[in-house]
Symmetry: C3
Subunit: 170 residues, 3 copies
């Protein structure tokens, strides 16, 4: 009887301490640092991922053809930058859902854009942003990732203008 | 005697709980999510790295010259995309071995290819894949990384066509 | 009295074990693996981040204009590669300070350079290195990151030649 009481005490004490440690761990939230008071561009300056989180490395995602019957590689086949970016985000949404994740869990993003022939060979940054802002920095989904955006020479298929890579944490 | 028994009980209880916690941690394995049932392209859609793993950030690795006596920057000096990629993977193998790692520990990869003059200035994606598939998605090494592949304008040395960056976890 | 003594014993035992676990965690330091005995290029071959660290994903950082009164996009507006890289590092320093971080905490870096018209359209790697080596591999700050450097087609603004993305851990 004495022993079992001691044992209960031990369990209670240990359980209490471990529970509080676990509480502290889950309390250590992901922190998104803003660009600053005078800059409301919808990306985070930095995202801080505390120990104890699961990190997901997602492959670069490219768009589905807009019109698979058009000439492969043509603008009709792939659509413009905004259209392609929307297709990428739709594909990402499906992927994230199947992983038990959501856009809000994104901590970092690398955007690879290809110069758009219809824009004199420059990347259509505004077209990309028009798609991006439907998924990040909205009322429903205010979480912003750290992000880099660069114009590359080409992606894996001719006419493909958008590839997006993300890392997530939960 | 009573005290020492209590103390033993405490140690047993605490040790048991901590051991089971540690067991749970090591049981949380890295998960590689496939592209889907109808897609056997040899990359992972996403790789999930649970808390408790050590993450390795490896520098971008470039090839060794194929023929150091050839004119620097010439195709003879560096070799084609497949040759350069094989050189990069050979260098990576040596590096990973010295770190106590292996290709199977790769969780993410970024592939930077330069347009091959012999391919009309387009990146030789097939040449790269011919090298990649010797190291990833084989019977001996089935683990696939999340991956992005882009064609950049240039790498650090003229004629260099392949740079590969990887992240690993163990 | 017996109970409280047991309780104290329990706390002491549990506290001791947890403290030693915490000690072990903080003792697991970030390890920077060098390129090798015959290579003193100032980057790490790989950086090893043990479990228990907080990871920071920092957005790609671009320079401030050198002369905001010059024609936007002109070389006078942005300055050359070294000038732009120094501006990026100055901005990063400010950002890291506000995050309670320093350059020494950098574990990985991706450098995106644009071909410099004054260098025949090639990236000015030496110009970038002249800025980089003021912040990494110095006596005061010897910590080196894993790094990849590529020449991209363009960055978000015309004339911008340097974007630097870093990941940090602490």
């Amino acid at each position: 009887m004495k022993r079992s009481m001691t044992s209960l005490l031990v369990r209670a004490a240990v359980g209490g301490i471990l529970a509080s440690a676990a509480g502290a761990a889950s309390a250590a939230d992901i922190v998104r640092h803003s660009l600053g008071p005078n800059n409301n561009f919808p990306i985070a300056r930095a995202v801080q991922v505390p120990a104890g989180k699961t990190i997901f490395f997602h492959s670069g995602t490219t768009p589905a053809p807009l019109d698979p019957k058009a000439t492969p590689g043509s603008p009709e086949y792939w659509g413009d930058t905004k259209t392609q970016a929307l297709s990428v985000f739709a594909r990402l949404k499906e992927s994230l859902t199947s992983l038990g994740l959501d856009f809000k869990d994104t901590v970092a993003m690398t955007v690879y854009l290809v110069g758009d022939p219809a824009k004199g060979g420059k990347m259509d940054f505004e077209g990309f942003m028009a798609a991006y802002t439907q998924y990040y920095g909205t009322k429903e989904q205010p979480n912003l990732p750290a992000r880099s955006t660069v114009q590359v020479a080409s992606l894996v298929a001719p006419g493909m203008l958008v590839e997006i890579e993300i890392q997530l944490a939960k």
